[in-house]
């Protein structure tokens, strides 16, 4: 994908999304993300964070608004019939990791990794397996290639899920509360893998409740509440010295004492 350096990687404009007639989750969201940015989205539950990521992955229909990716139209619902248009080619350049791993339980770790490259891109099995093995080694999972998901710990499952998404060489990674379902002692191993990707300038958007992780990985933090962006800025500002009262309240409650 070619794009000029200053062009935004993602441009979300006036995004509206509701579940049924009464529950409006996103109420006109505008976000621009530059290439190489690592955006952490924080905010109270029900504030629309996960919905935003699901919409960006093309898993949810939208009511109105648009998303452009790498300068190309990606998702829109601007036609008269309110149908959500998704460019599936563009979607393939985005990878997502979910809270509950979502590995395919009937496939071994290596089969989970090579399914999409072989079936979507038509890559030869041998070459996909070689790449998958290398990726697993890098994430400390080399010995688990032939294990089934049920034989792995939560942390290992989540690392496999990240490796599976990376097999398609995404231009953007979405992480939706990927450590929320893990036992506390397993959180670090997953966060280390994401930090490793960050060090290689992988653009990412992360929804997390872990403020330590947010502080360490974010190049920018967005505080989202009530379906809109309340505050958007560098981590030192949003997490350290928020300007908005609602952000301050939230940060105080999460950190207990702001640091």
């Amino acid at each position: 994908m070619t794009m000029s350096f200053s062009a935004p990687l993602v441009k979300i404009q006036s995004l509206h999304k509701s579940y049924g007639p009464h529950i409006q989750v996103l109420k006109g969201l505008d976000i621009e993300m530059k290439p190489g940015e690592r955006v952490v989205v924080i905010g109270p539950s029900g504030g629309g964070k996960s919905t935003l990521l699901r919409v960006m992955m093309g898993l949810e229909k939208i009511d109105s608004g648009s998303i452009r990716f790498g300068g190309k139209p990606y998702i829109s619902s601007e036609s008269a019939d309110k149908k959500t248009e998704i460019d599936t080619e563009v979607r393939r350049s985005i990878g997502m990791v979910f809270q509950h791993y979502t590995l395919f339980p009937h496939l071994s770790v290596i089969q989970n990794l090579i399914l999409a490259p072989c079936k979507v891109r038509g890559e030869a099995k041998a070459s996909a397996t070689k790449r998958a093995q290398a990726l697993l080694e890098r994430f400390g999972l080399g010995a688990k290639a032939n294990a089934y998901p049920a034989q792995l710990s939560g942390g290992q499952k989540q690392r496999v899920a990240i490796a599976r998404a990376l097999m398609l060489d995404p231009k953007l990674m979405l992480f939706d509360e990927v450590t929320s379902a893990l036992d506390p002692e397993l959180v670090a191993e997953v966060e280390q893998v994401i930090l490793q990707l960050a060090a290689q300038d992988m653009p990412m958007m992360i929804v997390t409740h872990d403020m330590w992780f947010a502080k360490n990985i974010a190049s920018r933090v967005i505080f989202c509440a009530g379906g809109v962006v309340v505050e958007d800025g560098p981590p030192e500002q949003v997490l350290g010295a928020p300007k908005e009262e609602r952000t301050k309240d939230f940060i105080d409650r999460v950190f207990h004492i702001r640091h």
């Binding site: 997502m96 979502t102 590995l103 079936k119 049920a150």
Partner: protein, 221 residues
């Protein structure tokens, strides 16, 4: 009256022929019934209201009536409606296949429903085309999840197959009844017949537990 099981040896061959008929009938109806059940299971979860309605009526009818009545109806009424003679075997196969189709369709429907929406989310996130989603992700999981219940369905069918003796099919039960009538030794003959059914059904029920323990625990599905 002294029990004398040695008389069974005289009818060894007849009993084996009866058993072969029972096994043959069961195997034919397992293959046909499971295939029918799979498509009916899909039809019951289909988007088409017509397909859902037709398949529901079929399943509820066959689940809600005694197998013996279904068998008699197919044996006596179907030839009158169609105007053709049906052999005992054909009637038996039709009746038990329709019965098996109805019960396995519920098994397949439940296993299809038990695959969470997050599996489909993962498919979309990986850009898998619809065909790959179905053949590589949904179907294998649905079939694996269905295996223990399907095995139980097969055991049920094997036992229910004894009902075909009522329409004169020479299965194990029919042969057993005949020998028992001719020898006036119902205790010996029917006990041996029961034991033969048990010796085949019991390992199958154990297999259900084994599959549950080995395969499904390993895959946690």
């Amino acid at each position: 009256m002294a029990l004398d099981f040695s008389i069974i040896l005289r009818f060894q061959e007849a009993l084996l022929l009866g058993l072969w008929m029972t096994v043959k009938l069961t195997l034919i109806c397992i293959v046909l019934g499971c295939s029918l059940g799979f498509f009916i299971g899909l039809a019951r979860t289909s988007r088409s209201a017509l397909l859902r309605a037709v398949s529901s009526v079929y399943v509820e009818f066959f689940r809600g009536t005694p197998v013996l009545v279904q068998l008699f109806w197919i044996f006596f009424c179907l030839p009158l409606i169609l105007g053709v003679e049906l052999s005992n075997l054909t009637s038996g196969v039709i009746a038990l296949t329709l019965y098996m189709g109805a019960i396995t369709s519920e098994t397949f429907r439940a296993s299809l429903k038990s695959i969470g929406p997050e599996q489909l989310d993962a498919c979309v996130a990986l850009g898998l085309p619809r065909r790959v989603q179905v053949t590589n992700v949904i179907l294998p999981q649905a079939v694996l999840r269905a295996v223990p219940t399907l095995l139980s369905n097969c055991v049920s069918l094997f036992k229910e197959s004894a009902l075909v003796s009522a329409v004169g099919m020479a299965d194990l039960m029919f042969v057993g009844q005949n020998i028992s009538n001719n020898t006036a030794r119902p205790i010996e003959v029917l006990t041996v017949v029961a034991l033969i059914y048990f010796l085949i059904a019991f390992p199958l029920t154990r297999a259900v537990t084994l599959v549950e323990r080995r395969v499904l625990t390993k895959l946690a599905i």
